[in-house]
């Protein structure tokens, strides 16, 4: 299963800005709440997080050390 951005539906005001900036169509508004459509094409550009004013969508990074 592809890792996808994280939605906090409590904070989503349904403005849809994230849907507009998502270039891989991974996001949709369903019942006025942002919903993730799983896709391997999400390249974690983080634009959805950048445009969200309410903090309802986030793209957390895992930080790991490269194995020698």
């Amino acid at each position: 299963m592809a890792e996808m951005p994280v939605i906090d539906p409590q904070n989503c005001d349904g403005c849809g800005l994230c849907v507009g900036v998502c270039h891989c169509n991974a996001l949709a508004i369903v019942n006025n709440i942002i919903t993730i459509i799983e896709t391997v094409e999400c390249d974690w550009c983080t634009d959805c997080e950048a445009v969200c004013l309410t903090g309802a969508i986030s793209c957390p990074f895992e930080i790991i050390l490269q194995k020698p």
Binding site: G20, H23, C42, E49, F61, E62, I63, I64
Partner: protein, 223 residues
Amino acid sequence: MAVQLEFLKSILYFSDLGLAELESIRKLVFEKTADRAEMVLLEGESAANLYFVASGVVKVFKTSAEGKEQILSIVRPGESFNDVPIFDDGPNPASARTMGPVLLYGIKKNDMEAILRDHPKIALNVIKVLARRVRHLVSLVEDLSFRHVIGRVAKILLEHIGGEIGRGPRLTQQEMAAMAGTAREVVGRSLKALEEEGAIRFDRHRIIITDKEALKEIMEVSS
């Protein structure tokens, strides 16, 4: 699609105007649509129009000679961009690119001057918009000039290394910005700089530290 009076009223510039005044301004507003990743303004070119975002999002940014991008602001519906050159007669100080499909409302520079002459009470709101812009940019200048954010971002990465894939703590750029005491835009630039230094690389939702010693050095030199 006709320019909506309600939308004009929601723009800070025109929020104090009555319907008759808004109607007279509406005649001077034109619509412009653009698809994703279209350049709307180019830095250095002469400024012809003031723009308001009606729907979608626009990114305003500067580009260095080496091609590095620094985001100055993300402009959302109801907000304006390209205000400064409209009023100081200079060229566009920054470029603007759409982050998705957008609808813009534009007013030609000469028309904006006429609007200000005909509706002087707009001036106070224009000053408020410009003052907010100055405050935002002063904060950004402070971050970029006086704070060694890259060192702090390096430190944050080193302090949050996870043991195994899928097990480590996870941080958003917003959280890193809060930890480093800076803006998200500055964290984005710092991460790109660390990638260019060869200290890290991005693998989708993972930041992989490829050279821990280099990262430590950046942290020590820049903190």
